[in-house]
Symmetry: C2
Subunit: 174 residues, 2 copies
Amino acid sequence: MTNRLNDVDIEAVAGLAGHITETPEAAQTTWSADVRWDGGFRSEATIREFQPTLSDEPVGLGGTDTAPNPVEQLLAALGNCLAVGYAANATARGIAINDLRIRLDGDLNLESFLGVAPGHAGFNDIRATVDIDSTADRETLEALHRHVLETSPVGHTLKASVPVNVQLSTPATV
Amino acid sequence: MTNRLNDVDIEAVAGLAGHITETPEAAQTTWSADVRWDGGFRSEATIREFQPTLSDEPVGLGGTDTAPNPVEQLLAALGNCLAVGYAANATARGIAINDLRIRLDGDLNLESFLGVAPGHAGFNDIRATVDIDSTADRETLEALHRHVLETSPVGHTLKASVPVNVQLSTPATV
């Protein structure tokens, strides 16, 4: 029988941290995705064995509005990452979570993407509000919150400047 | 009858750029996502009226492996964004794309997320390889490639340091 809190296997997570402590090279991971363009502004991303996830743009941006667009997907990735962070660290601290919701908003100026003006094409600002339903007191939840922000992989990727190297594949010599 | 290339409505996209040029305030957009924790390391993100997209972690990281994890979703968002960039700018330049595939890989050290060591928890490095099947010559494709990288919203968000402000909601006063 496993010892669970928040439907997280406490020993498994603690065991993973112990394993990484003993063999630091196991901490170095590589993650991947394969994207295929589907015509128009539609594309699909395949990750491991999972069904492809679809992407499109709203009609107002020239798409066919069949799926969330890439910048919305980025906000979703941040929210999902924060959710894992709360679940993992609340469990490690013995805090039971009844419910957890995260609202994310990001401001983006389209001028650069549309070629109207040069400049930063990405989000200028990303905001999130976390609602936790827990019997833990406010101070305990605030300490949890601070720790989650200090250790969020997607949060740190966005807050830091990350090298992004995109190569055009060399065509095969005929 | 609309004038289409790459299944993109050329006039609609050109019209959008014209509209933004005339009314720059229309370029300022806000995008959103709502994430709900589903127990364990599972969560789902709802964007506009679309079906929620699921998130989980592999078993080796304490999850139940029912969906891609957040850092994989981030790579997918980048790839989908680059695909829109290629489709939009190829169309504007009169370049027909037959096929477009993008492979993305990112390196991430788990020590910070697992609390084993402090430091950067995000991707250290993101790499992508773009395969375009097009009758355009190499020089034309390389110019397209450079323009896409200069104007990618998700690419710029990752390459730049973006303010991410995550607030713990104030509980209602009883």
